[in-house]
Symmetry: C2
């Protein structure tokens, strides 16, 4: 297969004509497909229907320690749920707080509290002239939206297959006191599916930030979200590593069961040092009387323990794996060797990251949309929605049925080809 | 019965001796009773056990509009839940947002957002030198805790059986631009069980605050929490009244099902004008992907509609009414005519408010505690925990079994007598 860049003007134009005809055929199909968000599909949701049966009117909704889950109280979560999510997050149960249904909301609250009250005695960020966050890119749009909402300046840091550029991070945080945090999705990252190397995690734990109120926002969203039994990424556990490095308070670790049980009806958790947790609980006691303990109990009774959760995740993997493999197979078949795009091949998580020729991403997404396939907006993976190269596109294979996914991905590759040809032709002018 | 103030020193001392002996008998009983918080009792919780059966693995968890409650999405609540809680809150369904399990958390978020982002374009409160809130007293300690947490200065406003002192409120808000809000529990108020009169609500709706970002925080916590079928308080609906008064954006109205279904596992809601809701949704879209829709659906399927909810509340009333009546009967029997205390006789809600002789409340609560009965801390019903008269005590009859409640209330009246005698004797010196 010849690279597109090696084709003559005439060859490109002939190819373009042929592909345009194909594109029109797709448009005639009146497709309505969506690869935009990391939503589980119906078959995945069905896996958790048993959750609706574990509690009944005949159930005793009392915890082992005697807590009646039906009444007010218990700020940091029932013991059983702490233990389950601690095992999931690879931390001790007393380093954890169980929240409501949304880890995003926990992250939001963490930033909001730092803005209004500072971090362990520091000046509230809202009183500072400038607050900055480091944002490994491409990254998660909803992270960036939180920091943007609070007027925090976002500094992009390039990702590598080993994690973000640690040389740059070490330099920036040691020099600039206004840098107060960094957004990380350390395992099966959003959107690339990269997992931070052992060395990267160790360097994170040993950061020497100029700001005492700097924290690592460690969103371990895909901690047990493997696609394979035999090929799994494994991370150095950051809380323990920070403790070993003498930086026990450096990190907030977030997770939830959103992509394990039901998205929106799961339970979220934050793990951190006792110093951090004490401060957070002071706020929590003002915010609420407690989170939904019945739902915490429901999760515990359904999964029983971390082994039950892991077995449950194998069922998710059995559904997701063929979808990821189908997308990767089509990308390779249609685009392999053409030199007009690169993509990641994750072993877990919810996304495949695609990089087009520079300046083509917005156009590719627009072309897909015009033919009835919605992708994540180009630029969404960058702070302020601005991808300087206009090249990154997040592919979310989880939601559509396999047959739809095949059509959508084939159309996507067609749009990549069309857009790339347009770019190459315009450069030849 | 002679008033204590009319007793001679000798009579008081003789009575004191007798009562002290009784108090020692109580101490010997090693009681562990709690009348501190408005917690439903076990029998009340049992009323909602059917909620655990309405959804099963055989259920279709799809809304009427096709929304799959098991997946991500729907920021402001499923339509069915909006309709149910709109009926409960007496507002149109499109004036409502359904939240997670805690209306307190919604109030916290509302204050937090005003601090960081202002109100409909106003200067963020965190950028102002001074922000003040009006606090009808006695009131709800958790309200005061939120404003205190954000450094908002709290100005007490006296309550009357018709609601807070409206003359004072109208004067203060029209003069002082730094007054940004007022905490209200308008129906069966916490702790007095007073309901605002029609005139009070109408005057609220017609406030002319100097601050454009002034809002009424209308915590309608006990909207359908009647004790009687035949004697019920009824409020002018504040949202509609504000609209009629030409002040549509003046109020945030809060409610939840915490004391209807399971506390901590219910659903909360905020009702307000579209202008206010639009601003709130902008924030909500950053905070979360959505609240727990499965739990919203569970509530709808269990209660079916507002009639089902009202019938359910009659069962709560059947459990609570004898408890309130027992406390009131004992207060009347033991303290009636003695001139050492006054108390309210609510027709709904969760509390009875007791006012002792000035300077006795702390001592009464301490005496109760020493004999094994925990009351709400004296002062808790005032901002900063400071009751200037040291006289108000909140009695929460809901949680203890009736037999315990009788003992606890009898002990309470004994402590009131002892403390009052001590005060009267010290004044006679």
């Amino acid at each position: 297969m010849k690279k597109y860049s090696e084709l003559t003007r005439e060859e490109l134009e002939a190819l373009q004509k042929e592909l345009k005809a194909k594109y029109k055929e797709y448009q005639a199909k009146d497709l309505k497909l969506n690869m935009a968000r990391g939503k589980p599909c119906v078959e995945q949701l069905d896996l958790s229907m048993g959750m609706m049966d574990v509690l009944s009117s005949a159930s005793d909704l009392t915890c082992d320690d005697g807590t009646d889950c039906r009444n007010y109280g218990v700020l940091d979560g029932i013991k059983e749920a702490q233990e389950l999510l601690a095992d999931m997050m690879e931390v001790p149960p007393d380093n954890i707080i169980i929240y409501g249904n949304s880890s995003l909301n926990v992250m939001y609250d963490t930033i909001a509290r730092s803005m209004s009250h500072g971090v362990m005695g520091s000046t509230p960020w809202s009183k500072l002239d400038k607050v900055k966050f480091l944002c490994p890119v491409p990254g998660y749009d909803r992270h960036f939206a939180i920091t943007q909402y609070f007027g925090i300046e976002m500094i992009p840091v390039p990702m590598t297959p080993e994690g973000p550029d640690m040389d740059l991070i070490e330099k920036l945080v040691s020099e600039d006191e206004s840098i107060k945090g960094i957004w990380c999705v350390p395992k099966y990252s959003n959107p690339q599916g990269y997992s931070y190397s052992d060395l990267t995690v160790r360097r994170f734990a040993r950061l020497e930030p100029k700001a005492s109120d700097f924290r690592i926002y460690w969103d371990n969203a895909y901690t047990i979200h493997h696609l394979y039994d035999d090929k799994q990424d494994n991370l150095v556990e950051i809380l323990a590593e920070c403790k070993r490095a003498g930086n026990p308070d450096l990190v907030y670790k977030f997770a939830s069961t959103s992509k394990i049980s039901f998205p929106g009806s799961g339970i979220a958790a934050l793990a951190s040092s006792h110093n951090n947790l004490d401060e957070i609980k002071d706020q929590l006691a003002i915010q609420t009387i407690g989170h939904d303990k019945v739902n915490q109990l429901r999760h515990v009774r359904f999964f029983k323990d971390i082994h039950g959760m892991i077995e449950h995740m194998r069922k998710h993997a059995d559904i997701l794996r063929p979808k990821f493999e189908a997308v990767l197979e089509i990308l390779e078949r249609e685009l392999g060797g053409l030199g007009i795009g690169e993509w990641t091949k994750p072993k877990g998580g919810y996304f495949i990251s695609f990089d087009s020729l520079s300046g083509c991403a917005k156009d590719i997404v627009a072309k897909c949309k015009k033919a009835g396939v919605v992708m994540t907006g180009a630029g969404a993976t960058y702070p302020y929605g601005k991808d300087p190269q206009d090249s990154n596109i997040r592919i979310a294979p989880s939601y559509p049925p396999l047959s739809d996914l095949v059509i959508a991905t084939e159309l996507f590759t067609l749009c990549v080809k069309l857009s790339s040809i347009e770019k190459l032709l315009s450069e030849k002018k």
